[in-house]
Symmetry: C3
C-alpha cells in the first residue's frame, strides 16, 4: 500500500461538521499525524464565502468576510514548524463568483490579492512550502484552465517557485453533491473522455501547476486502477507529479459523511501503489482517521491503518 504521508486540514469546512477544536486539540492532532507518518498538511481553503481561517484586511473590505476569533493559518504554520511538516496554503473560495455566477475572472482577481496578502503575512515561516489551488472541478468547467494558470503562475512567482497543487475529481458515478440524498448518478464520464479532457486541461496549465492529486472517491473501486494509470501517464507527459487524494470518508453510506471502511481505504492505497503514484494525501485525517476524532469509527480506522503500516515495515 502507498502510505498516507499528507492530509488536508478541513478548515474552513464546506460540508463536514466542525469539531470545535482549540489550539490544544490542534496541537495534539498534529502529534497524532506525525506519529502516523504525515509530513505534509494542506489547508483546504483559507476562506469560504464569509468564513475565514485568518484575519484578511483585504477580504473584509471587499467581500465583507468575518474576522475569525483565532488565526488558524498562524496556528497551523507554528504547528507545522514544531512537528517539522510542510504546509500548503489553500486559496480563497468565494463560493459565489466562479461557482454561482460563472465569473472566473473575478475569482482570480480576488485571489491574486489574497496571495499577495498571505505571502506578506506568512511567507517568512519556514514551514510555508506550497500552494493549493482550492477550486475543485472534474471537467473543463467554465474558465477553470485560465483560473489555474493565472493563480498558479502568481503563487510561484511571488514565492520563489514554491510548488502548486490541484485536486480535481473524476466525474464518475459517485460525483454527487453532498446535500443530495442519492449516492450515485446514472450518467458518468467514460475513461476516454476523462483522458481527453484532462490532456487538454493539463496542457494549458503545465507551467503553473506542479502536482496533480485526483480525489479517489467518485468511481467504482474496480475502476480505480485504470483511472490511476491514465492520471499518472498524463501527469508525466506534462512533467507534473502525480499524487492521490485518498478519501478517508465513505461515499457509499446514507450519512454524509462518516469514516470509511478500512478495507476500502486499503484497496485504494494498494491500487495507488501499483499504479506508481508518488504520494498519498488523505481528506482528511482530523475527522476521519484521528484517534481524537469526534467519530469513534476514526479511532478504529487509525488503529487498523497503523497495524498495516507496521506489518509492512
Amino acid at each position: 500500500m502507498l502510505p498516507i504521508t499528507a492530509t488536508f486540514l478541513d478548515e474552513i469546512s464546506h460540508d463536514i461538521p466542525h469539531q470545535n477544536w482549540g489550539a490544544k486539540e490542534w496541537d495534539a492532532d498534529f502529534s497524532h499525524m506525525k506519529k502516523m507518518g504525515i509530513d505534509t498538511v494542506i489547508l483546504i481553503r483559507c476562506g469560504h464565502k464569509k468564513w475565514m481561517t485568518y484575519p484578511s484586511d483585504f477580504l473584509e473590505k471587499t467581500e465583507n468576510v468575518y474576522r475569525p476569533s483565532i488565526d488558524l493559518v498562524a496556528l497551523f504554520l507554528s504547528l507545522a514548524e514544531k512537528y517539522k511538516m510542510q504546509f500548503y496554503f489553500g486559496l480563497y473560495d468565494s463560493g459565489k463568483y466562479w461557482w454561482e455566477q460563472g465569473d472566473y475572472k473575478k475569482e482570480v482577481e480576488i485571489n491574486l490579492k489574497v496571495i499577495d496578502e498571505v505571502w506578506e503575512k506568512y511567507g517568512e515561516s519556514p514551514a510555508f512550502k506550497g500552494w493549493y489551488l482550492s477550486q475543485e472541478v472534474s471537467r473543463k468547467t467554465g474558465n477553470i484552465m485560465s483560473l489555474y494558470h493565472r493563480l498558479g503562475k502568481h503563487c510561484k512567482a511571488i514565492s520563489n517557485n514554491l510548488p502548486t497543487l490541484i485536486s480535481p475529481y473524476i466525474d464518475g458515478k459517485k460525483a454527487i453533491l453532498s446535500n443530495q440524498s442519492s449516492l450515485t448518478k446514472t450518467e458518468s464520464i467514460s475513461i476516454q473522455q476523462h483522458e481527453k479532457d484532462w490532456n487538454e486541461i493539463l496542457d494549458s496549465i503545465k507551467n503553473a501547476v506542479d502536482i496533480l492529486a485526483f480525489q479517489d472517491g467518485h468511481v467504482e473501486y474496480h475502476e480505480l486502477t485504470q483511472y490511476f494509470s491514465i492520471n499518472k501517464k498524463l501527469a508525466q507527459k506534462y512533467s507534473m507529479k502525480c499524487w492521490t487524494n485518498a478519501e478517508s470518508f465513505d461515499r457509499d453510506m446514507p450519512i454524509k459523511f462518516l469514516p470509511i471502511k478500512w478495507e476500502k481505504l486499503l484497496l485504494k492505497l494498494e491500487a495507488a501503489q501499483k499504479a506508481g503514484l508518488e504520494k498519498a494525501i488523505t481528506f482528511e485525517f482530523s475527522h476521519f482517521m484521528s484517534p481524537q476524532s469526534s467519530y469513534v469509527q476514526a479511532h478504529h480506522l487509525y488503529n487498523r491503518y497503523m497495524e498495516k503500516l507496521i506489518s509492512i515495515g
Copy 2:
C-alpha cells in the same frame, strides 16, 4: 456576546435522535447547564403524536397516546428545583390536527384540557414558572393567531399569570424541513413582509403571549442584525419581551443535525447582544453543547463557549 442562560429540553424529540438518558444522566446534565449559567429550562413539548413525557389520563383516553415509562415532567421539575432553575412547560403537539388537517380548533381544545390536567398535577412545584406554546410557525399559517391567543390566555388565567413564550422561525432561505436533503430554498420572505406579518400576528396575541423568541437559524448570518432589530421593535410595540432562540446545531451541513461551528454561534450571540435582545435560549444544550452529549463536537463547543464566557468576565 449575549450569554446563553436558557435551554430547551428536547423531549419529546421530533427530529433529533434520542440519547436514551435516565434520571442519573439528566441530573448530571442539569449540573452542567447550571455551571454554564443556565437558569431556565423549557420543555419543547409535553408530547408529540403518541409519545409523551408524562402520563396523561386525558390524552390516553382521547388520543391513544402511550404511557411513558418515566415521568419526565416530574423529573425535570425536581431537577429544576434542585438546581434553582425556572421550568417552562411546553404544550402538546398532536402533529396531526393543526399540522396535517389544518384543524387548529381541535388542537386548541385538546390543549385546553392538557393545561388543566398539567396544572393540577404539577402546578404546585415552585419551579413551574411559565408556559411554552409549542406550535411553531413562520407566517400567519392557518388559525395560528387564534391558537396562540386562546392557549396563552388559558395558561395565564389558570396559573396566576405565569409568562407565556413562543418561538417562531423566520421564513428565510434555510427554512427547510429536516427530512428534506437540500439546505436552502430559492424563495424566501423579504424583511418587509416579515415585519408586516408579525406586526399583525403580535397585535392579535398581545395579551396572551409575554415573550417572543425567534429561532435564529433560518436566515443568512449577515441578515441577522436586521431581523433582530425588527423583532425587537415589534416586541416592544406590543409590550413583549424579546429573547433569541440561539440554535446550537448547524443548518449548513448535510448531516441533519450536528453541533454548530463555534464561530457561527458566537456571531449570532454577538448580533443578539448588539440588537439589545434580552435573553438567549439555546436549542438545545443536551445534544449540542453538553460535555456529556453523544456528539463529541458538543464537548468542544462547550469548552469554546466557556473560554469566551470567562474571557468577557
Copy 3:
C-alpha cells in the same frame, strides 16, 4: 417484554457505516452480547457485491469479488464457540442479479455454490447452527419464492437439516430506501393484502424455510400488534417458528440511522411478547446497542435495556 436473545452481525454492511473493528473489538462485543442474554448471532450476509467476509475462491473467480484481509466468518465462528452461541450464516447478496437485473435464477445458482463452499470450509464448527437467506423482500417480488425454496432446500440438505431463517419487511409507510431523504411514503400495503401475499409466499416455501422473523420498523407503532398476530398465525399455519426482528435503530429521524429511542424499542418488544412471538433478534447490537458502539446513544440504550431486563427478573 420479549427479551432480545439474538442479533444480526452487520458485516458486510449495506447502509450502516463501518466501525472498523479488529479481532479484539469483536471479542469484547461478543462478551457484551453474552452479558445481555444473546445466544444467537446471524451474519447478515457473507458478501455484498464485491465486498466479502471470507475468502471465496469461487466468488473471486466468477464475480471478481475482493479478498478480505481478515476472515470474519472464521472469527465469528470461533467467538460463537468461545461464548457458546449459535451462529447462522447469511448467504451472498450480489446486489446485482436479483436486485438490478431481476435475474433470480442467477442469484440462486451462485448461492448454491457458495453454500457448498462455505459448508466445506466451516461446516465442522460446532457453532454453525443455521442459515440466513439474505435476500430481503416485502412482497412477491420477482421469483423470490423460488429463490427461498431452492436455497433453503439446499442449505438444509447439505447440513443435516439445520434451520433456515428469512427476515422480510412489511411494505408499510416507512418502507423507504435508506438513500432517500423522506421518512414515509403515502402508499402502503393494507393488512389484508399483507396477509394474502404472505399466505401465498409461505405456502410455497414451507418446507424450505423454518423461521420467519419480520422486521418491525416499517409500520406505525400502533399497527404492530395486528401485524404481529397475522405473522404469527401464518407461521403456525405452515409450521414455521415466528420470531421478530426488533430494529434498534430509529427510522423516524433525518439521520439514517442512529440508535432508537428506548421507549420505542420497549413498546415493540412488549407488543411482540403479547402476540406470542417466540424469539427476538435485533438489527443490530454492535452499532445500536453495544456499550462500545461508536454511537454513544447506544451505550445508554444498553443501560436502559439492562435496567428493564433486571427489573422483570
